[in-house]
Symmetry: C2
Subunit: 185 residues, 2 copies
């Protein structure tokens, strides 16, 4: 999917644009390195997490499953600068669960593209809903945006928190409180 | 110095290269936004900190001056990804001192360009040496590199520490220990 030749050309143009000497030793491999990096950090583009989440197992216990503190890194689509933090995913099974690592993979698929945090949160919830049809879903993301800390308004340490609820978590505020106390506890 | 037209062209190429739709709403202003951002984050390129550091005042007390925990953000020249952390600058005056904010400005001038941490550390020490001719200098930088945490080897939380000493700080290991205990204390 990634056109490395185009990316290398882009990086050379950008370096020239900021007034750098693209022939100096430290920069000589930068276009190639960034092209390889883009395959990794934008590797989720055009993919869905369904293939992962569809690895499922039947269960009888339909209590909350929470995977918390999933470290994630994404790229802000407004500045192409990293934002990163922790994702917390909970669902109430409807007779079936998915592998725990698949929850982390879901976060990764939707992180690895130019993103905004709100959409990332929704896309994770949508994927869980589509594949597991659970009785309830809650997704919370806490992140620091380098476009807020290192430039512009420059507020290091400020955090952006976004949540999405579905089903039982939307209807029952007590469930939301439980989620929050499990995440913080 | 910054050629915004070239940068905008570069960003469009990069977005195309990773397979993005550059006409979608979230990305439409990204080239212009990044061009403006580059003026800020690469704004130190071609500048030296001397003009700031040459604002000086005579002193009689020639004991260590330490400015610690100066938050800094720079861009790794190998991946054009942020690295950030704290800088600690100490010098032993030789009859004159500079304004404290000028030490932070020095860190900023050399951070705001494609960098590697070791060179950033040396450039800060060089500027202090050139302008203040102090009896000793010690500079220490502690930083997290997003190119190490979000891609490649993926080691979130790992830190890179670099130091440069000059004059009395090079000769006298006790002074280095004092610096470290003042920084950590
Ligand atoms: N809701 C939301 N906003 C975001 C995200 N990432 C991100 O850069 N933004 C915001 O997008 C907006 C872009 O605004 P802008 O077009 O005026 O660009 P700018 O760089 O001049 O803005 P700034 O200097 O205020 O950051 C900024 O307010 C920035 O904080 C995100 O994930 N979610
Ligand atoms: N000494 C030093 N090395 C750095 C800095 N920033 C930075 O990316 N590097 C290193 O530069 C090297 C570039 O290596 P490479 O040409 O094989 O590129 P790569 O992206 O494939 O390497 P990687 O995947 O190991 O990070 C990496 O080892 C990376 O960690 C820095 O500030 N100082």
């Amino acid at each position: 999917m990634v056109d490395k030749v185009k990316i290398e050309q882009a990086v050379r143009l950008l370096l020239e644009g900021i007034g750098e000497d693209i022939t100096r030793e430290g920069l000589i491999d930068t276009p190639d390195r960034i092209a390889r990096m883009c395959e990794e950090i934008y590797g989720g583009l055009g993919h869905e997490a369904d293939q992962h989440l569809l690895k499922q197992f039947p269960v009888e216990n339909n209590e909350i499953v929470l995977e918390k503190d999933i470290t994630f890194y994404s790229m802000c689509e407004h500045h192409l600068m990293p934002f990163y933090g922790k994702a917390h995913l909970a669902y109430i099974p409807n007779g079936k669960v998915t592998g725990l690592s698949k929850l982390a993979r879901t976060v990764e698929v939707y992180s690895r593209r130019p993103q905004i945090q709100e959409r990332l949160t929704v896309q994770i919830a949508d994927a869980l809903e589509r594949t597991l049809d659970p009785k309830g879903i809650m997704v919370m993301l806490e992140a620091e945006h380098t476009c807020m800390t290192m430039r512009g308004i420059k507020k290091p340490g400020s955090k952006t928190i976004t949540t999405v609820t579905r089903g039982a978590f939307t209807e029952d505020k007590e469930l939301q409180k439980m989620f929050l106390s499990m995440v913080k506890g």
